[in-house]
Symmetry: C2
Subunit: 382 residues, 2 copies
């Protein structure tokens, strides 16, 4: 091709694993360049005004063995823009509807990364807010859906009294009639504040704000006014751009929940890697913390996959702040050492049901959990 | 189990295909009831206050052969609520993160269906707006990204002059600097209005409003003020609830684009059926028209799958209006008869590049396309 867009700092580079043969891979790679951008037949995109401006460009293409090729495509800034939905669409919009195309790596240029913004608080900011300079953070969940506002608030009080660093709503607590958003958030934020006053502690309550598109920000602002220390949201359920919106407009730390993300992980040769979806994308768009299924719990995922998510949340990325991994999904009190071994000290250890099951004294359960974390860290290499 | 929530009109019933053995299926089905609702261990959900209130209930379970079971689960209104994100999350949020679970059917109760609302205009409303009482509607796309506002507006004028019923922006036209939203929509809406005035026709221009969560509605309102006849949005890219928001708040007909939806179709035993995602969900949430990859084009999909989407868009569903199928993805002028054979007359025939390739006279290309449709319909059984 003679006409190519000039590479620039606002471009987006995406690496796909593509199922193909040596005879078909060049066509498949070109097809991706077209499908994700101009969506026209060759006679129409051959025009230099298009081929030299908005068409994706294959930067690299190599045989990865087993009938797969790694294809690195540069999408020009003119096509990608700076809005999250279009970025998401360029990465995988129409490509999702084909076969054998898996997103393995997403690399925004420095200008695009800065425009997306990344975490507002990030790991260091969160540590400052929680008053935990060094050790892993200890987190619990308010649950289950079905408890009244009063019951959940009493749990919140006891869990905060025990000294949790973070306490999050279950992601299924949204705005049901049996436990409406405003009443729940007001009561739970109040319970946590009362416990903090009594203990001198800093438990941060993360209110679930998953809800209608035109209410999610107002819920976050309500939560902030009520004294919540952060918000929890399911970006794939609400819309990925909700991370940017909440991060920029609420000022609160934002915790992302992986609900629905598994649709992208169902096939080994189609979809998206966990590291891209739960790591790079969530972080770039503004998540300060990302909840994801951990190995050894009730979800099928490997230790290596979790380590890859961890790297994507923390690696150098044009100055974006690192985000905190929150491995979860059936974590029990005996998993502390395992998790610290993979994630190091910059991790949030989230225990769900186990904090309720150990004894009826929730505060004592939290104290026990914290002592396990402290022991594990004391024995771990720095 | 002795305690069960009382079934009601606001419940949500979801049928999953679950990979299991006769020895494991009951546990897997129960696990779904728990995972999609209360997310706690058995000692915690056994409490009658939970089991009798918010827990999902297996209504039916049958061996479907080949290591799969069909599991029908009723989710109580107390859990589901009436907000789109929570509905989506209950259907597949955490389940997506497991293996071998595919959503095969979604049945909102009558109260829930009415609350979701469905299409505002629907098939009949669209026909009224386009002035096409009976035949298939004829549609084209403004493309490609890379053309200037002035060029796109000149295409819009010519295509409307030729007599398209609907003219949609390509879904990749969002708000890029080379073709900004407001300038593009104003110029294209104006070009279509001018052509309509000259022909006495009724071409409806659907403006792409995919964009930031907090701008998508204002873009739709801008488009309406500029004279657009509808909006195009990618619900999985922006957030599924955008359909409800645009349908209820903009007043314009809403066309849904399937970008990203393919992530849900990648595996035969995990994800979601096309009929659920592109049919039931899009329609329930408010899409008046749904674009989806058609068989025989450039996307891998079968004729039967397209027919199933068609049924889901049109079948009786507690009084919700039927939505119009827009089979697409490399449709050419010779596919008219095929498409009408599957979809009947209530279909939008969308041709992309082919409308630009046939000759440089776009209006003549449209006239040719319309004549093909009219011939195909004249020869088809009513």
């Amino acid at each position: 091709m003679t006409h190519r867009p000039t590479p620039g700092p606002d471009d987006l580079v995406v690496t796909y694993a593509v199922r193909a043969t040596p005879a078909t891979i060049e066509d498949r790679a070109l097809d991706l360049c077209v499908e994700q951008t101009v969506e026209v037949t060759e006679p129409l995109w051959r025009d230099p005004a298009i081929a030299g401006r908005t068409l994706g460009q294959v930067e690299d293409l190599r045989d990865a063995g087993n009938g797969r090729f790694e294809v690195r495509i540069r999408f020009p800034a003119a096509t990608v823009g700076r809005e999250v939905p279009q970025v998401f669409s360029v990465i995988y919009g129409n490509a999702s509807l084909k076969n054998g195309i898996r997103v393995e790596r997403v690399e925004p240029g420095p200008g695009l990364a800065r425009a997306l913004g990344g975490p507002r608080h990030g790991c260091a900011g969160l540590r400052g807010l929680a008053g935990v300079p060094d050790r892993p953070l200890v987190a619990g969940a308010l649950k289950p859906l079905g408890r009244s506002v009063r019951e959940l608030a009493s749990y919140a009080y006891a869990l905060a009294r025990g000294g949790l660093d973070l306490l999050k709503d279950d992601h299924g607590l949204t705005n049901q009639a049996i436990c409406p958003f405003e009443a729940r958030v007001e009561a739970c934020a109040d319970a946590v504040r009362r416990a903090n006053r009594e203990t001198g502690g800093w438990t941060l309550y993360f209110a679930s704000v998953t809800g209608p598109l035109d209410q999610v920000l107002s819920r976050a602002l309500f939560a902030r006014a009520a004294g919540a220390g952060g918000v929890l949201v399911s970006p794939l359920v609400v819309g990925l751009d909700v991370l940017r919106l909440l991060s920029r407009e609420s000022g609160l730390p934002v915790m992302a929940h992986p609900a629905l993300a598994g649709a992208f992980f169902a096939s080994p040769d189609h979809g998206m890697s966990r590291a891209v979806m739960l790591g790079t994308l969530m972080r770039c768009c503004g998540a300060d913390l990302v909840v994801f299924p951990s190995w050894g719990g009730r979800f099928p995922v490997t230790r290596d996959e979790c380590a890859a998510v961890d790297r994507a949340l923390k690696e150098d990325l044009h100055g974006l702040r690192p985000a905190l991994p929150v491995p979860a999904g059936g974590m029990t009190l005996d998993r502390v050492r395992d998790l610290v071994a993979v994630h190091g000290r910059d991790v949030v250890l989230l225990v769900g049901s186990a904090l309720y099951e150990r004894s009826p004294d929730l505060a004592a359960n939290v104290r026990h959990f914290r002592s396990l974390v402290e022991t594990a860290v004391a024995n771990a290499p720095r």
